[in-house]
C-alpha cells in the first residue's frame, strides 16, 4: 500500500494531497498546471515535498519530521514519463534491460523474450526509439518500467501523445497489465474519459487542492 500525505510549495500556490492506494488504480485528474506532475515527482523522489509523509507498506520513503528522503534509485518506483523518455541512443531491447543491469538482476534470455512478447514488442528488439510509432513507444516504456518489478507505478499522461483509436486499445491493455501486476498505479491525466475508465479512485486536483474523491465501483463488478 502506498500512503501519501504531503504539501509542496509551488510558485503560485501550495500543493496539498493525501491518499492511500492499495493494489488499485488511483487517478489524479485535473487541468494542466494544477500540480499533478509535481505529485508524481514527489512520489518518485525526483522532487522533495515541503512537508508530510510518504510511506510504502510501512516503509518510510519520505518524512519531513524524521528527515527521511529515500533517493529515487532506492525507491523502486516505476515511472512512465509523458513523452516516454526512451533513451534515444539505445535500442528497444537495451532500453528495457537498462534497469535490470543497474540493479544487477540476472534475467534469463528466454524470460526477456517472453516479457517483450507480452508487451507486443518482441519484433522491435533492435529498433531505436525514433523508429517507433507512438503506441509502440508506450509499450516499450511500460515494459522498461515494469522490468525492474517496481513496488508501484507512476504514469504521467500516458495517452496524451496518441491517436484516439490506438488510445482505446492501450487503455484496456493497461487495465489488463494492472490486473496482472496488482501493484498501486498512480495515473495522472487531464482527460475525463481516461479518468473514469481507468480509475478505481479518482482525486481531482486544481490549483493544488485535492477537491473530491470519487470511488469508482465498476472494477468491483
Amino acid at each position: 500500500m502506498l500512503e501519501a500525505e504531503f504539501t509542496k510549495k509551488l510558485w503560485h500556490f501550495d500543493l496539498e494531497i493525501a491518499f492511500k492506494a492499495e493494489g488499485n488504480i488511483l487517478v489524479l485528474w485535473g487541468p494542466s498546471g494544477s500540480g499533478k506532475t509535481t505529485v508524481l515527482h514527489c512520489l518518485a523522489g525526483l522532487k522533495s515535498p515541503s512537508g508530510g509523509v510518504v510511506k510504502l507498506n510501512e516503509r518510510i520513503l519520505y518524512s519531513h519530521e524524521e528527515r527521511v528522503n529515500v533517493p529515487t534509485r532506492a525507491r523502486n518506483a516505476g515511472y512512465l514519463f509523458q513523452d516516454y523518455a526512451l533513451f534515444p541512443h539505445l535500442t528497444v531491447k537495451q532500453n528495457v534491460l537498462y534497469g535490470l543491469k543497474c540493479n544487477k538482476l540476472k534475467c534469463p534470455s528466454t524470460d526477456i523474450k517472453e516479457m517483450l512478447n507480452t508487451f507486443g514488442i518482441g519484433h522491435l528488439n533492435n529498433r531505436f526509439p525514433s523508429q517507433l510509432s507512438g503506441g509502440e513507444k508506450q509499450r516499450v516504456a511500460l515494459a522498461r518500467a515494469l522490468a525492474v518489478r517496481p513496488n508501484y507505478l507512476l504514469l504521467d499522461e500516458p495517452f496524451s501523445a496518441l491517436d484516439k483509436s490506438i488510445k482505446k486499445i492501450l487503455r484496456s491493455e493497461l487495465k489488463k497489465v494492472h490486473r496482472k501486476w496488482q501493484i498501486p498505479f498512480i495515473l495522472v491525466t487531464h482527460d475525463e474519459e481516461d479518468a473514469s475508465y481507468l480509475g478505481d479512485i479518482i482525486i481531482s486536483i486544481d490549483k493544488g487542492r485535492s477537491r473530491e474523491i470519487i470511488t469508482n465501483n465498476a472494477q468491483a463488478e
Binding site: A44, G45, L46, P71, T72, R73, A74, R75, N76, A77, G78, Y79, F81, D83, A85, L86, F87, P88, H89, Y98, G99, C102, N103, R144, A145, V148
Partner: protein, 222 residues
Amino acid sequence: MRINPIDWFPVLLSLKVALIAVCAVTCLGLPFARIMARNSFWGKDIVESVITLPLVLPPSVIGYGLLLIIGKNGLLGSILSHMGVSIVFTWWAAVLAAAVVAFPLMYQSARAAFSSVDENYENAARTLGASELRIFFTITLPLAKPGIVAGLVLSFARAMGEFGATLMVAGNIPGQTQTIPLAIYFAVEAGDNRTAKILVTVITLFSFLVIYWVNRWSKKQK
C-alpha cells in the same frame, strides 16, 4: 647547393603539447561543465565569467598571470622550487599555457551539450535504479557526444595554435620548448622562409583535415 634538412621537432612537440593539454582540459572540463549545467548556486555567474576569461584576455595577460603563479616567486612556483622542480621555460609550461586558453572552449561546448540533454532521460534512469555516475556515463555523456566532440576539436585547435602565453612562460628554446607557432615566427624573423613555408603548410593542412573529418562525422551522426 646543399639543402639543410628541416627540423621537425616543433611539429612533434606541438602535437604532444596539444594532446596532453586537451586530455587535461577534458578530464577537468567535463565534470565541471556537468555540475554547472545542472546546479545553481550563489556566485555561479561569477565562476562562469572567470572560467571564460582566458577566451577574451590577450595572451600576454594570461602569460604574465601564469608567470605570477608558476614563476620562481609565484604561489605555486615557490612551493615547487622547494621541491627542486621548476616548470617555467620547460615544455610543461607550454602544456599549461595551452590548457588554460583551451579550457573555456571545452567548457562552453560541454556545458551547452549537457544542458541540451533532456533531464527526463536522466530522471528515467534514476527511477530505473541507476546511480548518478552510471547515468553520467551511460546516458548524459553519449547524448552530449556531438557537442563534446566539437569542444575537443576547438580546444585542440586552440592548444595547437597557442603563441603569446607560451612564449612568455615556456620561451623559445629550439629543441626544447619551440612549438610550431613559435618556430614559424622566429623562422620568419630570421629570414628562413623555407622553414616557415613548410611549417605553415603542415599546420594548415593538418587543421583542414581535422575540421573536414569532424564535419563529415557530425553529418553521419544525424
